[in-house]
Chain length 344, copies 2
DNA sequence: ACATTTTGTGCAAACGTGTGCACAATCTAA
DNA sequence: TTAGATTGTGCACACGTTTGCACAAAATGT
């Protein structure tokens, strides 16, 4: 027994006008006499009438729905970002439908169904759903927004944090502290952010690397999360002869905070090394945990609120924009206590 | 220029049948000859036809959309729970629309709009949106599922973890370790879970409390999160004269893991106290961080997957179920290294 | 062979809205 | 006063589906 909704016909009858008039009373730019509009809205309110979005979507071929795909909620930065996105979208009257990209096959299925809901746009935030999915949406004329992801899609809107400045700052910070043996910790499963940061880090060090002043080592981890960082630190020092200890890196730049925290915990709790006395560590993102007393991680902050804000604005601008947008969000060095002058 | 979708009329024309027939070919229980059905589906596939959910929803007054409201993504347990929910729902072909309950006023607005999308049901997971919202949905004949929340709504489906058994186990664990001065850390902003756990904890200790064998102190914190726990520990020892130190509690039960971690960090990093040597701490939830080497928190695990599974099943069963469901999910004691025998 | 049931398909109405077009009413300008 | 412009409203169709009803064809029973 479904509840009978009050429709525009009801309020039309009540107000002694046609359904068309009722409809037009809710559109700002329609030619309706002030008097009629006021009366109709009055009655509508009184009846608790609300326009049926489903019916409206059918005719306008547009909805207030937005697809939001993310590879699980494992990465803490992804979580705060999504949180901000939800709030901003909600404020704009948009409703995000969350899709999990962990299972690619599953995802492709869901994402096709999603297209049937006339979503206004789709935001792809992390992980790696095959970019063919994005292409599929482009083909259906549904705008695609890529957040911190590689842009193989020319037609997609791109919003990225400034990995170049960030990585350059990381390099400078470690160099200024006197570190000579540097390392970059990154997942072997290439992600856009990680690879990009690594490349810019190396680029910032290029001159000194060429002159032999400093060294740079790539430390691979299995996954770009806490466990990955943890294991990477273990692996790094596992089969290293004591005589070789003096050659291990002292300035560590991690692809993101989560990796950095895992790396630090392994150093401290498993390997008996101190941060920052023995090794300096820099992360990226500034996730909430990074600032807490257990870690006090020096890191590059990318502001999730700014990204969410830019995304919201991007969606708003899409109807009037002709070419896909390219937006770069600034990052900021947050100096805490995980970097100290090199001991040797 | 919107992309022209292929409709059932297209495939009907192509197959030389009527739209009705096409529609029926996709419903399992319709009387359609095997031959026709196969041919139609063949052609539909070939054309890439997909039923328009919007149009279907309009006529069936049902959609594959599900409302999922949560108070931000701050609590780590809420995050893993939501993650599981998303995956399970996605697997069932349902699409969750996420709503943020941080701003109550904003929420009421969004949630009303949501009703217009004919959501199949609404899942309320944490935080405290006024229960009138739930009532509003009940009134609209939209099923409401409350997860780990108080049930002022008789008509709502209730899924709760077993706070009673959990708190009883916590009490037993601390008592068995020889602790006499116990405490419960909970937010002053009452949440259902926190209050419930506190009440059952006290209940489990009732006999020994009455006999004066042990003592129980309530430690309030401003919020039921990391910061709250952190500050609570600071407050507890702030204006306590050294002579009084011996009377402070040694067995601490926290309303949830997040509070427990904050509490522990304050003890260790700000107050110079050791866990578990000086104080024993038990949490609730078993969030991912709790198991990591920095904490090794002994805690009561409530399995997010089990809750999500129960929720999914609940939604599935709703059409055929007559009375609202009441489901309790078991919890399990996870023994790690934050509880030790009482020193004195 | 005929009556009756079963099976398969089409017609048309409904869901609730937006919007082009027509047209009446009011207003403006000479 | 009258022709034309402007304003406000209604009619009717469209969006893409589901589904009750009608009905032809096939199958069944006697």
């Amino acid at each position: 027994m479904t509840h009978k909704n009050i429709t525009s016909a009801d309020v039309a009858r009540m107000a002694g006008v046609s359904r068309s008039t009722v409809s037009r009373c809710f559109k700002a730019d329609s030619r309706i006499s002030k008097k009629t509009r006021e009366r109709v809205i009055e009655i509508a309110d009184q009846l608790g009438y609300q326009v049926n979005k489903i019916a409206r979507s059918m005719i306008t071929r547009q909805s207030d729905l937005v697809g939001l795909v993310s590879a699980g909620l494992h990465d803490p930065f992804a979580v705060v970002l999504i949180n901000q996105l939800i709030q901003k979208l909600q404020k704009m009257g948009l409703h995000p439908i969350l899709l999990d990209a962990s299972n690619t096959q599953q995802l492709e299925l869901s994402i096709k169904k999603l297209a049937q809901y006339q979503v206004r746009s789709i935001i792809i935030t992390s992980g790696s759903p095959s970019s063919s999915i994005g292409a599929e949406f482009i083909r259906l004329n549904i705008p695609v927004i890529l957040l911190n992801r590689a842009g193989q899609l020319d037609a997609a809107h791109l919003i990225n944090c400034d990995n170049k400045t960030g990585s350059t700052l990381a390099a400078k910070t470690l160099l200024d502290a006197g570190h000579r043996r540097l390392a970059f910790v990154n997942s072997i499963n290439s992600t856009y952010s990680g690879n990009s940061r690594g490349a810019f880090f190396e680029q910032a060090l290029a001159l000194k690397l060429a002159s032999g002043e400093i060294s740079l080592q790539n430390i691979p981890c299995r996954s770009s999360d806490y466990q990955g960082g943890f294991q990477a630190a273990l692996d790094l020092f596992a089969n290293r002869p004591p005589s070789d200890q003096s050659r291990s890196p002292t300035g560590i730049y991690c692809a993101n905070d989560n990796v950095a925290l895992g790396f630090m915990d392994a150093l401290r709790h498993e390997l008996g090394l101190r941060v920052p006395e023995d090794l300096s560590v820099i992360g990226f993102d500034d996730i909430p945990l990074a600032g807490q007393p257990a870690y006090r991680l020096t890191t590059l902050r990318q502001c999730p609120e700014a990204i969410a804000e830019a995304t919201a604005k991007c969606i708003q601008d899409i109807p009037s924009s002709t070419s896909p947008q390219r937006i770069t969000i600034p990052v900021k060095l947050i100096t805490r206590h995980s970097v100290a002058p090199a001991a040797n």
